[in-house]
């Protein structure tokens, strides 16, 4: 609740309110956004169609057109201050197996030359960081992850590839991410996970949510194939652990 003076409220089109925090990518802001989101979810139950989290924003999309923005703004401002004993959402650390074999990590060599790190070092640095899920956007199931080590920052390709395979783990500028489905993309491919980040046939199509954390675990090509087979038959269980606040 420490951002009170810095939060702005704006009407965004017929049906939405954009709540913005200071422009900064920061886990303290994320925690504040998520806490506010939980309170809003309860206070406006039934009135809200969607809640979109961004790095420094929370967008409330109402089911109906907004008639009186000022009264909504006042209600939100009061709500922000309110001390409630709402149980915060439970967040997890997800262990994601990644095969960094050169068959998938097709840009490891180029990165290695340019970053003056061996491929092994790149893999080691990439897989020893705990990444924070800030939000999900761009494509269904695409996680915006924070925490990429500065040593691995590497510009996007000047010309995007037309087909990046589903599950590809990649680096684009200061970010790392996983392609949840085959798509065009300009990020540098360093590996591939057999895990599906968006499965339309599951009750929860995307297991991860804002506030969760991701840990990449290196696996061999052989393990990749074994896990892939289990994933197909829905026999693979992801390892997760609860994050204690």
């Amino acid at each position: 609740m420490q951002f009170n003076k810095f939060i702005t409220y704006k009407q965004f089109g017929n049906q939405a309110v954009l709540i913005a925090w200071p422009v900064k990518i920061d886990e303290v802001i994320l925690a504040d956004i998520l806490q506010f989101k939980t309170k809003i979810h309860i206070a406006f139950q039934g009135e809200i169609q969607d809640l979109i989290v961004g790095y420094n924003s929370l967008t409330l999309i109402f089911k109906e057109d907004i008639i009186d923005f000022n009264s909504i703004k006042e209600k939100l401002q009061q709500l922000y201050h309110q001390v409630t004993n709402v149980t915060p959402q439970e967040n997890y650390i997800w262990e994601i197996p990644v095969c960094y074999d050169v068959t998938f990590g097709i840009d490891l060599k180029e990165m290695s030359t340019n970053l003056r790190l061996s491929e092994q070092e790149i893999i080691h640095i990439h897989s020893s960081t705990l990444y924070t899920v800030f939000f999900i956007g761009f494509l269904p199931g695409f996680l915006y992850l924070g925490g990429l080590d500065k040593r691995l920052h590497f510009d996007r390709k000047p010309k995007p590839r037309l087909n990046v395979a589903k599950g590809t783990v990649a680096i684009g500028g200061k970010q790392t991410g996983i392609y949840p489905q085959q798509s065009a993309g300009g990020w540098n491919c360093i590996g591939k996970t057999p895990i599906s980040f968006f499965d339309i046939n599951k009750e929860l199509p995307c297991f991860a949510k804002a506030g969760d954390k991701i840990k990449f675990t290196p696996i061999s090509k052989k393990e990749f194939d074994a896990i892939s087979a289990k994933v197909v038959h829905r026999k693979f269980k992801l390892i997760k652990s609860v994050i204690h606040a």
Binding site: K10, Q11, F12, G13, N14, A16, L18, A20, V23, K24, I25, Q49, D50, L51, I52, V53, G54, Y55, N56, S57, T59, I61, K63, I66, F69, F135, I136, G137, F138, L139, P140, G141, F142, Y144, P180, Q181, F198, I200, P205, C206, K209, A210
Partner: protein
């Protein structure tokens, strides 16, 4: 049920959209011209939530395998039932084996077909709207069988006297609100944006419409935040993109304007090389001058 003999250039099943899944990155989708779709559903006494077919540039051919009542609305496309011309925006009785075909579009580009009680196609994440990787197919394909319940009774709850408003087909002005980053624009940029017209480029589809003219732009990209159907973005190169129903849920370009819901319907009937202009309105729908 009906069988798709020819899906035309781009056709899909759409309803009002897929709500409540933006937090996992799922676009809203839904009818581009919701006004036209609502009209067709209303004429048949359907729920506004009922799924319809959306055709782009006409030219489709469908064979009905069950009787029903239909209504065709949106872009005029010289529809024919078997060999005879039929009217748009009015209920039409359909018998088994009837063939409905569309010619080329003459006004607007998106035509809607509603059947009594709506299409009963697959539901994914609480919506029938087709979208890549969400529904089995992103669009209607040749030989697809699209289900609806046969209907043989006369229409009892018809709203056939509903007033038809076709003014949006000749309207080039898009009413819009200021976007969250509008205030960052210079006076000259605001002038250009709101007092000159723009041409739609050939990159215009259900995801978004790119405009041709460039506005000199020194704004830095924003940190990724929400975008909505109707959000007008200014890219670093100065090109304007108007996001439409299949747009992503987040984006990193400054959001300079936000189309009203009505303006989205107006734009959805426009295509490449047509001119549009933005008209700033406040949240009480009165115009603002800059």
């Amino acid at each position: 049920m009906l069988k798709v003999i020819n899906p035309g250039i781009y056709s899909s099943v759409q309803d009002q959209g897929r709500f409540g899944f933006a937090h996992i990155g799922v676009p809203v989708s839904g009818c581009m011209d919701q006004v036209a779709a609502n009209f067709a559903n209303c004429i048949l006494g359907n729920s506004l939530k009922d799924a319809v077919l959306e055709f782009t540039f006409g030219l489709a051919k469908l064979e009905f395998l069950s009787p029903t009542i239909i209504c065709i609305s949106g872009a005029a496309c010289a529809p024919k039932l078997n060999a005879a011309s039929v009217a748009m925006n009015t209920p039409i009785s359909i018998q088994e084996k009837d063939v409905l075909s569309f010619g080329t579009v003459s006004e607007g580009i998106r035509t809607y077909l509603a059947v009594k009680n709506g299409f009963q196609t697959e539901i994914k994440l609480a919506s029938k709207s087709q979208y890549q990787h969400i529904t089995t197919s992103a669009s209607i394909q040749k030989n697809d069988l699209l289900y609806f319940e046969a209907f043989t009774k006369p229409l009892t709850h018809s709203n056939a006297k509903l007033k038809l408003d076709l003014s949006r087909f000749s309207q080039n002005e898009l009413p819009c609100f200021e976007g969250p980053e509008f205030y960052l624009l210079s006076k000259q940029q605001k002038q250009l944006l709101l007092h000159t017209s723009f041409t739609i480029s050939n990159d215009a589809n259900r995801m978004g419409y790119r405009l041709n003219k460039e506005i000199s732009n020194q704004l830095t990209p924003i940190v990724t935040s929400s975008v909505l159907p109707g959000t007008v973005q200014l890219t670093p190169s100065g090109r304007i993109i108007i996001l439409m129903k299949d747009c992503q849920v987040t984006g990193g370009y400054p959001r300079i304007l936000q189309l009203t819901k009505e303006a989205i319907a107006v734009l959805s009937q426009k295509h490449t090389n047509q001119q549009i202009s933005f008209k700033s309105v406040d949240f009480f729908n009165s115009s603002i001058t800059y």
